[in-house]
């Protein structure tokens, strides 16, 4: 009997240890591959992060184009999906009749599960032709990618904002209404300030989803390793460049090292976002 107990505990311990080892080796392996860029290929970190020239055949691997591309597309997506998501969450928790709210919540939950390639496919067949028709360009570019990503992060933002709003005590609303405030004033001056930590988390996790998104963006952004001067021309982000170039990168080459270094940058941004979420959660 005691041996069974001890054995079970050891198995559970080993599984828990595996999780820690997996995460540690992920960081170590990717970091080691990326370090080749700085040790073997003698590229400086500053050049890698700030140079806009990406031309691996001529030994230029500046990733600034992709870094800036990732940040711009994510910002655009947040501009589209963020306010709309919070507005829908407010509608669901404060205004909608209960039957409508439950139907809409169900549909939005369904949207969370739709695979990212399907969003990319919809972007390719609906968004890109729409942008093409309105702007007289190819249609592939920042705007198409931002629109697709904005719709993609919408369910995440709605679900988390809704959670934050519903967690506010009913007495807050009653107190404000009893003082003669209108519903809009109650929402704007009482509820939103009270739920700001939760809303911040909703935005941060929306950003996290947008910045790591690969295929939905790759299908509509046009994939050009230059930084475009407007929203209607082809661009690229860190994940789209990785997924496109990895297949043709010879092992141990400059290009491969650069792609792994870009993956590390992406990983770093994601970890930073989670750290922020943790800090917010701990403070409130």
């Amino acid at each position: 009997m005691h041996r069974e107990e001890a054995f079970a505990l050891w198995v559970l311990r080993a599984c828990a240890l595996f999780l820690v080892v997996a995460m540690a080796s992920l960081v170590a392996y990717l970091g080691y591959q990326a370090s080749g860029l700085f040790t073997i290929d003698q590229v400086s970190l500053g050049e890698f992060l700030t140079s806009f020239r990406f031309d691996p055949d001529l030994n230029h691997v500046g990733a600034a184009v992709f870094l800036l591309g990732s940040l711009s597309v994510t910002g655009l997506a947040l501009l589209i999906g963020g306010p709309l998501g919070v507005a829908v969450a407010i509608f669901l928790s404060e205004i909608a009749p209960p039957a409508l709210a439950s139907v809409l919540t169900l549909t939005i939950e369904l949207l969370v599960g739709i695979p990212s390639v399907v969003y990319g496919w919809l972007g390719l067949l609906v968004v890109v032709p729409f942008v093409r028709a309105t702007s007289l360009t190819s249609g592939f570019g920042f705007l198409a990618a931002g629109l697709v990503l904005g719709v993609m992060i919408l369910p995440t933002v709605v679900a988390l904002s809704l959670e934050a709003l519903r967690a506010q005590p009913q007495s807050l609303r009653e107190g404000s209404l009893a003082l003669g405030a209108t519903r809009w004033e109650t929402i704007c001056h009482v509820l939103l300030p009270a739920a700001r930590a939760g809303l911040g988390v909703a935005f941060l996790l929306g950003i996290a989803r947008a910045i790591g998104e690969t295929l939905a963006v790759q299908m509509v952004i046009g994939n050009a390793s230059v930084f475009p001067h407007d929203l209607f021309h082809a661009a690229a982000t860190l994940p789209t460049e990785i997924v496109l170039d990895m297949a043709g990168a010879p092992p141990g080459s400059l290009l491969q090292h650069a792609l792994f270094a870009m993956a590390c940058v992406l990983l770093g941004i994601s970890l930073l976002l989670v750290l922020l979420v943790r800090m917010i959660a701990r403070r409130s």
Binding site: C15, A24, L110, P115, G212, L273
Partner: protein, 291 residues
């Protein structure tokens, strides 16, 4: 004066409420239009031969039979690794570990792992399974990469399920003389079975649609020897990867038809997994509440 101020405030309120209604209607119209368009364009592409025949890389008339098979095969393999592993770690954290450095290190590792973007996880899979272990693109490599990707979420859901089991049940079992492990096997896990099953079905939907992590681990082609191959070390392109590949790199002439058909199958599967999760939850709730 006061009258006008009150009027202005009421107008402001009405305008704001109208804006909220409009944004909700906009999102509803968007959802209905997108899903409707997807189903309408996909329905014409669907046929029995499309769902069962092998793909054609260059000409017209290719199907998605092997891709559907691979999607389910990888789903099964991934769940086979993910569920026991997540259960073990969750049991350790919830039932055994004392709060301290070890427990918080495990929790931190899980949270960090949860944030890794799927393309980065795919590169890690490429490094470990293709470069180091030299498996080439394989079903097993893909499934293990997906396991790492989904382990944190499954673990969190398992932890919540275990946490919801009342402590009095554990105490009653221990008081009857059962050992801790026996209590877990016979009392705690059966008590958490409803949220556990719901969680497994929800995670299954995510695994089914995952793409970016599979491109460089399970590959973008089906097995040469036999398209319906149970071999662990053969390439295994799934349906979602196929949808991407036909458009990004492929040269099939009827890419539009393949895309529409694959997309509608993927969405249909997600809907089925969601409904299933809800039904299972309701079934267990009715059974345990005795009504």
């Amino acid at each position: 004066m006061e009258y006008f101020l009150r009027r202005r405030r009421q107008w402001g309120n009405l305008v704001a409420l109208a804006c909220f209604w409009m944004s909700a209607i906009l999102v509803m119209v968007l959802i209905v239009a997108l899903l409707g368009w997807l189903v309408w364009s996909g329905a014409s592409a669907l046929s029995w031969s499309f769902l069962t025949s092998v793909p054609n890389e260059t000409g017209a008339g290719g199907g998605i039979g092997p891709e559907i098979f691979n999607s389910f095969y990888l789903l099964f393999l991934t769940l086979f690794f993910t569920v026991p592993l997540a259960l073990a770690v969750a049991l350790y954290l919830e039932e055994y570990a004392q709060p301290g450095i070890v427990a918080s290190a495990i929790q931190l590792a899980a949270e960090a792992l949860a944030t890794v973007p799927s393309i980065v996880m795919g590169l890690f899979g490429l490094l470990v399974f293709v470069f180091v272990l030299r498996w080439r693109f394989s079903a097993l490599g893909g499934a293990l990469t997906l396991t790492l990707l989904n382990l944190p979420t499954m673990m969190r859901m398992t932890q919540q399920a275990l946490h919801a089991v009342p402590g009095s049940l554990r105490e009653a079992s221990l008081a009857l003389g059962a050992t801790k492990w026996r209590t877990i096997i016979h009392v705690v896990i059966p008590g958490a079975i409803a949220p556990l099953t719901t969680g497994i079905v929800l995670i299954a939907g995510r695994i089914f649609g995952e793409t970016a992590a599979l491109i460089y681990t399970a590959g973008v082609s089906v097995s040469n020897a036999n398209p319906y191959d149970f071999g662990l070390f053969h390439p295994a392109e799934t349906l979602s990867v196929h949808l991407w590949y036909t458009h990004a790199e492929g040269v099939a002439v009827d890419a539009q038809r393949i895309g529409s058909g694959s997309a509608v199958v993927l969405v249909a599967m997600v809907v089925i997994f969601n409904v299933l999760a809800r039904l299972i939850g309701n079934f267990f709730r009715r059974r345990t509440s005795g009504r």
